[in-house]
């Protein structure tokens, strides 16, 4: 490896001299690499639960009110004689959404890769505050435990949709899940938000302050840019959800009327007066929409990095990529109203939000074209990570394009809350972000565990997943355009939709196969930890700093001094060099010009 580690300018961190016990190393660790692994494994477990739920409710949609052994085994009293109950259907939909959006694609994705890569790629010994980082993980862990425990509540878990609009979520008489189940949901989310904020603050401070010598902002890999901006969006928007959750708790438990007014339910008038559910929708979506970008931006960063490395080419339009990340981040905070075109808010606001929403398509299009140009005339190394990256761009385009319809208020009227929406956001942020996460795992597994993932299992995993993802979500657009509302326990009360039943069965079969394909990945993931081939220091021949650290993890990351940085992170196949990559810590040759500075 040509990576020369700079030996002058020692800075004496003594972190790696501490004696470690099992507890400090594996449980209450303050090492960012260990915390990243903790996030990943917790996120994986939550992911398995979330996917299992989706398979269960997909089975109910395909074969409505049919007895099913899986339901009987897993749902207990919620599936008398193996027939799924309508309440638990809504609960499954709700918790599936919550888990996948927050616990897997926010914490599991950002938590894993921001923690792993920020210090390693900017050349820092650890996060700015290792202790806060540890607290952040353990708060996340507690929120997971509370969320899961809510599944076992007598009256059922939260069942008001992952958006928990009041009054449904506020009144136990409106829905069984709005009792203790919803309380636990709110508490879990409040803790989750605290965790997320601690993490985000840490990422921001670390990126700003702890970059190694020479690592200017315009030499940062796009991963770091993405994590940094994601953290900023999180800090801006998550507190608003926290406030919404707290106000909802007040309405539920202390009789305030922030979101409730004029309600008559089960034969009695409630005392609430003057509040508005629309206010909750505003507060929720002020986080809810940026949340979509909190989920997708890290995936974009990972994919940019992996695509460049595996194409053996610089990422195309580095500055345009940064500009588009910033543009997306800015716009993401002023488009939330497109979830509320028909909420009863002033139609003029609808016009404004249509305008801002469709603007987001511009930076998104720039990114998509830049990725495509990145692989043009490359020398593509088809590692599993690369396949998932290409898959990411594919689903991002397919899913993103239908945003043009949903963002257009006049068209949203007719497809709002139908399966068209489900298809759109699952492709553009669900599947895409998941692909980004998988790409990241396949790419940085050697960095995390010192061993390689089996590539053939990786290929199998990708191709089955890719086919099933389209098989599930592509036909859903058409079901939605036929007017089928989402969150219906069964469609059998509407003969109007009878001709969609077969498509629903096909979708469910794809979902089951796609779900099972993840077993391949899980097997690969856990088996390779112990039996995988030992990794070399820089298996993918990448330019970034994390590959200059030793394979075996040490506190402080580099045994000697922290390497200095002399160039941007995309010097792949640069003319004038013998090898097709030049690590960032290699000084410029005489007469060599740096492209980006």
């Amino acid at each position: 490896m040509s990576a020369t580690i700079d030996t002058h300018g020692h800075d004496d961190h003594d972190v790696h001299h501490h004696k470690e016990t099992f507890v400090t190393k594996y449980i209450f660790s303050i090492d960012h690499k260990m915390i990243a692994k903790q996030y990943l494994i917790t996120g994986t477990i939550m992911g398995v639960i979330g996917v299992l739920m989706s398979i269960m409710f997909r089975m109910q949609i395909a074969w409505p009110e049919q007895p099913n052994v899986l339901f009987e085994a897993l749902l207990g009293k919620w599936a008398p004689d193996g027939v799924m109950d309508a309440d638990i259907y809504l609960a499954l939909v709700t918790i599936h959404g919550t888990i996948m959006v927050f616990f897997v694609l926010t914490a599991g994705l950002s938590g894993t890769f921001s923690n792993l890569l920020i210090p390693l790629q900017i050349g820092a010994r650890d996060m700015a505050s290792g202790f806060l980082n540890m607290v952040s993980y353990w708060l996340f862990f507690i929120s997971c435990v509370i969320m899961i425990s809510s599944l076992f509540v007598e009256a059922g878990p939260a069942a008001a949709g992952w958006t928990i609009y009041p009054p449904l979520s506020a009144l136990p008489m409106a829905s069984g899940g709005s009792g203790l189940g919803m309380t636990l949901w709110l508490v879990s989310m409040a803790i989750f938000i605290a965790s997320s904020l601690l993490g985000s603050l840490n990422y921001i401070v670390t990126v700003i302050n702890l970059r190694t010598k020479g690592m200017s902002m315009t030499r940062l890999p796009l991963t770091i840019w993405a994590f940094f901006v994601t953290a900023v969006i999180g800090v801006v928007s998550f507190p608003v959800l926290l406030s919404a959750a707290l106000l909802l708790i007040m309405d539920r438990s202390f009789g305030t009327s922030f979101f409730l007014s004029d309600i008559f339910i089960q034969g009695e008038v409630l005392h609430y007066q003057g509040g508005s559910p629309v206010l909750f929708e505003h507060l929720f979506w002020f986080l809810g929409h940026p949340e979509v970008y909190i989920v997708i931006l890290p995936a974009m960063g990972l994919v940019s990095e992996i695509m460049a490395s595996n194409s053996r080419k610089p990422i195309f339009g580095y500055r345009a990529m940064i500009a588009s990340i910033l543009a997306i981040a800015f716009l993401s905070t002023i488009v939330w109203g497109h979830h509320m075109f028909i909420s009863g808010m002033n139609p003029f606001l609808g016009s404004v939000f249509t305008f801002t929403t469709l603007l987001i398509a511009i930076p998104s299009a720039v990114k998509a074209f830049n990725w495509i140009t990145t692989i043009w005339k490359g020398n593509l190394q088809m590692n599993p990570a690369m396949l998932f990256s290409i898959g990411f761009v594919s689903t991002f385009i397919t899913g993103g394009l239908t945003g043009i319809i949903l963002g257009d208020s006049a068209l949203d009227i007719n497809v709002h809350d139908t399966y068209f929406v489900i298809a759109h956001f699952h492709l553009v942020m669900g599947i895409s972000a998941l692909y980004g996460m998988f790409a990241g795992i396949y790419h940085w597994y050697p960095k995390m565990f010192g061993r390689m993932l089996n590539k053939n299992l990786g290929y199998l995993h990708f191709w089955i997943t890719a086919i099933c993802a389209y098989g599930v979500f592509f036909p859903m657009h058409f079901i939605g355009m036929a007017g089928l509302p989402r969150r219906y326990y069964t469609n059998s009360n509407f003969p109007l939709f009878d001709d969609l039943a077969n498509a629903n069965v096909i979708i469910t079969i794809f979902a089951i196969i796609g779900g099972l394909a993840q077993i391949i990945y899980l097997y690969n993931f856990f088996a390779s930890m112990f039996f995988g081939k030992k990794a070399e220091q820089n298996p993918w021949r990448s330019t970034t700093l994390e590959w200059t650290t030793p394979v075996k993890h040490i506190h402080g990351n580099w045994p000697g001094a922290i390497p200095h940085v002399y160039r941007w992170s995309y010097d792949y196949s640069k003319p004038g060099h013998d090898v097709d990559f030049v690590p960032q810590n290699v000084p410029l040759m005489e007469g060599e010009e740096e492209l980006q500075h």
Binding site: L90, L168, F264, S311, A361, A410, N491, P575
Partner: protein, 352 residues
């Protein structure tokens, strides 16, 4: 069914496990056990990329073939619906073109430039002209769509009071719909949930003393005269609901504590819609499918033969029976409507 399903699942799990173990073993004994893609992998996956491109096109064609009649994108039954459908079709065409081209480029490049040992990639980091082109083209296309969209949106949402639309209240509760006609004065009587008196059957909480309420009519089946503008004033008594009338391209949430509104002009009577060739075919298909499930349907108490009707559906999650919250809508001629209206009981007479 259950047994079949179980068998399928077990089978898949078994196959998956077997495959995994086998492949894992094979990979372990090979000589090139680096777990890094070599030329062979690049080649196979490059070809698979083309295969996948074809798969995307095929699934698109199949979806259009089997699900592409899109009953809710053609034959709009309201005046503004035609405009919405036009915009939808234009947007779909744009999307379709962009999707086809970009997916082709992505997957074709992935195939074309699959890695070979010894080849060097082109060092190509930047091109402002290209960036400019693919910033400006989306800007132009989107500007067109935004302008068209906003005009349509304003058209739909700004209710023209000069047209003297018929005022009807849509009232949502877990889990059914009611409609209240404003009667000859075209003004709804005041109402609030605090006035609900179940003993007197005042279920919508209408103010009995309000003179405007005296000619109001409350019904459970919505009748609309064709060609007459209507404006719906929507209320909910408990949680959020959404009044979704897909055939009319109409939807608005019903929010407790406030009155929301949506207006449109129905243009096709139920009877005419039933004669529409597209609809005749769709209904025929549905009935063929229903015949296959005869026993099941009859057991559930539904009528076996489906006949087309406009529907109002609830499209905002509202609790246990959300999936069965609907109201029939009948569009008819003014004479039929007047005749029907005469038979209805006015609000004061409906009280106990």
């Amino acid at each position: 069914m259950t047994a079949l399903l179980t068998i399928i699942i077990v089978l898949f799990v078994a196959v998956a496990l077997w495959q995994m173990v086998k492949i894992f073993d094979l990979a372990q004994v090979g000589t090139t056990n680096s777990q890094i893609a070599d030329d062979h992998d690049n080649k196979i996956n490059g070809y698979l990329m083309i295969g996948f491109l074809i798969f995307i096109y095929v699934i698109t064609i199949l979806s259009f073939w089997y699900l592409g009649d899109l009953p809710l994108m053609s034959n709009a039954a309201s005046e503004h619906g035609v405009e919405v459908d036009n915009l939808m079709i234009i947007s779909m065409v744009v999307i379709f073109i962009v999707q086809t081209i970009t997916q082709f480029l992505l997957h074709y490049f992935a195939y074309k430039y699959k890695g070979e040992k010894g080849r060097k990639a082109l060092f190509y980091a930047d091109n402002n002209t290209l960036e400019f082109i693919w910033t400006v083209i989306p800007v132009i296309v989107l500007a067109g769509l935004i302008i068209y969209g906003l005009f349509t949106w304003n058209d739909i949402m700004n209710i023209d009071e000069d047209e003297d639309p018929m005022v009807i209240e849509l009232y949502a509760q877990q889990f059914n719909w009611k409609a209240r006609y404003s009667g000859a004065d075209n003004v709804l009587g005041k109402a609030n949930v605090r006035l609900i008196d179940l003993d007197r059957a005042n279920i919508l909480g209408v103010d009995e003393d309000d003179p405007n309420a005296q000619d109001d009519v409350i019904v459970t089946e919505l009748h609309l005269p064709v060609g007459k503008p209507v404006v719906f004033k929507m209320r909910s008594q408990d949680v959020l609901h959404s009044a979704y009338m897909p055939h009319f391209r109409a939807q608005m949430n019903c929010v407790p504590g406030m009155v929301t509104q949506f207006g449109f002009t129905p243009t096709i009577t139920t009877a005419d819609m039933r004669q529409n060739p597209d609809m005749v075919e769709k209904v025929k298909d549905i009935n063929a499918l229903r015949l296959e499930r005869k026993a099941e349907i009859e057991e559930s108490g539904q009528e076996l033969v489906y006949e087309f009707d406009y529907l109002l559906l609830c499209n905002k999650i509202c609790g246990t029976s959300h999936y069965n919250m609907q109201m029939k809508i009948i569009v008819e001629t003014q004479e039929e409507f007047d005749a029907w209206m005469k038979e209805q009981t006015t609000f004061p007479n409906s009280l106990n």
